[in-house]
């Protein structure tokens, strides 16, 4: 019953994603930007290597802009339109609601990421790539997207304004990137103790994403992403409960 409820919510959300023109704009912009970063900024051909390093490298930044845009209306819209009242008068738990909506958005994001498959074909055609890192890279992207999306879901539950939700999630995601990003930690090295930098870096999506991207599946990385998702969805539940009382 619980799974059925989640599935019904997910299906409704997915249908509404695919019914809305905004989603297609999202997909097109995402594909264009990922192509631009890979070929222009990442110098895909200049590297002369048959891997997707140039492609995956940009995902934390690409998602930083796009994922909050995708998820900012998950709850903000429901609150603004009043449908949240309809939803919570149905016989289902808050958890089922939240996970249904999250899974739909995540599913849509995964769909968009999978549409980058031509780049895999390109690499396979031009050279002889190692598929392990490519598969891991995609898995890392999904997890990264899920973590950002969880955070956006949480900020969306805070407010009924999409813009506010977008900005707050942007700031949180940016923090998660910066706290482990090389140039940023180098800046701290001079005055902060090493353990502090290490602790901060362990909160970073960057360090966890880098190792998955290289093809190393470390349970710590997976636990890291999953715990961000679970934590943010749990906070979402608290925020929604607070909104209602």
């Amino acid at each position: 019953m619980a799974f059925l409820n989640i599935w019904n919510i997910t299906r409704r959300e997915l249908v509404s994603y695919f019914n809305s023109p905004v989603s297609y704009v999202f997909i097109v912009i995402f594909l264009l930007l990922s192509g631009f970063f890979t070929f222009m900024v990442g110098d895909f051909f200049g590297r002369g290597e048959s891997d997707l390093y140039a492609f995956f490298q940009w995902f934390p930044w690409l998602f930083l802009v796009l994922v909050p845009a995708l998820g900012m209306n998950i709850w903000a819209d429901e609150k603004r339109m009043g449908t949240i009242e309809l939803l919570f008068s149905l016989p289902l738990t808050t958890f089922q609601c939240i996970s249904g909506k999250f899974l739909a958005a995540w599913g849509f994001l995964i769909f968009a990421v999978l549409l980058t498959f031509p780049i895999v074909i390109t690499v396979a055609w031009l050279g002889d790539p190692d598929y392990g890192p490519i598969i891991c890279g995609y898995a890392g992207c999904f997890l990264l997207g899920g973590a950002y999306l969880g955070i956006t879901c949480m900020t969306s539950a805070m407010t009924s304004s999409q813009v506010v939700s977008f900005i707050i999630s942007e700031v949180i995601c940016l923090f998660l990137i910066f706290c482990g990003w090389g140039p940023f930690t180098d800046m701290l090295v001079n005055w902060a103790p090493a353990w502090l930098i290490d602790t901060a870096a362990s909160f970073s999506v960057m360090s966890h994403f880098t190792s998955i991207r290289r093809g190393v599946i470390d349970s710590r990385d997976i636990i890291y992403y999953c715990s961000i998702i679970v934590f943010s969805l749990f906070t979402t539940a608290m925020l929604l409960k607070n909104h209602r009382s």
Binding site: N5, N8, V15, E85, L86, P91, L92, R244
Partner: protein, 351 residues
């Protein structure tokens, strides 16, 4: 009845994620008698503001309870607590004997709810939306589709079934949301301003539908329109500033009017001075109001306390007969709900 004193804890259950079955374990199946909704000592604070103040009432099967009160009196808040959307600060709501705070899933499945302003997912078609609700209400496949078709027919929505909700007129939107609330044929219907924003014909249709369903269900509806209470409801509850100020039948509410039980007599005669003199000295009346119209003069006689209006009416008729004044109209006023509504909600505010 078991009652939660503080529902903070019970609200917590909502986010503790176990399967629906867990909530329902041990929930009682049937309520005592025909009592479908029971609200006990309900309080609701919004930070410092007290929105609902010690409200208790019950609704039986076959009752249509009209919930009236000025704007901001706490009608919507109370309805949201009955439907489980808002947790009460104190007190409890029993749906068919099931405590909403302890078994929200089971209790919610018995209720159909039409929220204020009829919120809908505007990017779906009417059909898709109702299908979604049917699935969420636990129907599958063909049965779900059958239920959707049934309510489409009942709410006169067949010709817009494939239309997107954001292209619908307000009347259709309202009816779509209404259809959503009755799709699972619930025992209890909670309707927040069901006829708000509809044209007179649509209002009549919806009222007819509510009356029909009221025979077998327990219905709570809120409204600003006092005639609606008279035409639709079998019980009425007036609240003001979150407090109950009246609970009874509509005729009982009307009887509270100062004007109720007055004798109204219209006389079509030229002997105006004589008439005025005679009626001003009539016995057993507290007050006599005379209104001189163009053709007909109308006289309002307010009987003294304890004197039946019928007696005054007969006396007035006798006087007219004796003097040969032709009676144009004769009635005993019932008092208007608007009068009483104004009186009791204002006096509550002053106190």
């Amino acid at each position: 009845m078991y009652c939660y004193a503080i529902s903070l804890l019970s609200g917590w259950e909502n986010i503790q994620m176990p399967e629906a079955g867990l909530y329902n374990a041990g929930a009682p199946e049937v309520a005592a008698g025909g009592e479908m909704i029971r609200v006990e000592n309900l309080f609701k604070w919004y930070s410092r503001r007290l929105a609902v103040n010690d409200l208790s009432f019950s609704v039986n099967r076959g009752d249509i309870l009209g919930f009236i009160g000025p704007n901001g009196a706490g009608k919507s808040t109370t309805m949201r607590m009955i439907t489980g959307y808002l947790p009460p600060s104190l007190g409890c709501v029993l749906i068919n004997g099931i405590d909403m705070a302890r078994f929200p899933i089971k209790a919610k499945s018995r209720i159909g709810y039409l929220p204020e302003n009829a919120p809908l997912y505007s990017n779906m078609s009417v059909m898709a939306f109702l299908k979604f609700i049917a699935l969420m209400r636990g129907f599958r496949g063909r049965t779900a589709l059958g239920k959707v078709n049934e309510v489409l027919e009942r709410c006169f929505l067949e010709n817009v079934r494939h239309q997107r909700i954001d292209t619908l007129s307000k009347g259709y939107r309202h009816r779509t949301c209404f259809a959503q609330s009755i799709i699972h044929d619930p025992d209890i219907l909670v309707l927040d301003e069901p006829t708000d924003g509809l044209d007179p014909n649509q209002k009549r249709e919806i009222r007819k539908l509510i009356r029909e369903m009221g025979r077998t269900k327990a219905i709570v509806l809120s409204t600003h329109i006092l005639e609606e209470v008279e035409t639709v409801c079998s019980k009425v509850l007036v609240i003001s500033d979150g407090k109950k100020v009246f609970d009874g039948v509509p005729s009982g509410l009307k009887a509270m009017s100062e004007r109720a039980g007055d004798v109204l007599i219209g006389i079509n005669s030229e002997d105006r001075r004589e008439i005025i003199e005679t009626f001003e000295n009539i016995e057993l009346c507290d007050k006599v109001e005379i209104n001189q119209g163009c053709d007909v003069m109308s006289i309002r006689l307010c009987p003294m306390k304890g004197i039946p209006a019928e007696q005054i009416k007969l006396a007035a008729v006798r006087l007219c007969m004796q003097n040969g004044w032709p009676i144009d109209a004769l009635s005993i006023t019932q008092g208007t709900l608007a009068d009483v509504f104004h009186k009791i909600t204002e006096s509550q505010k002053e106190s």
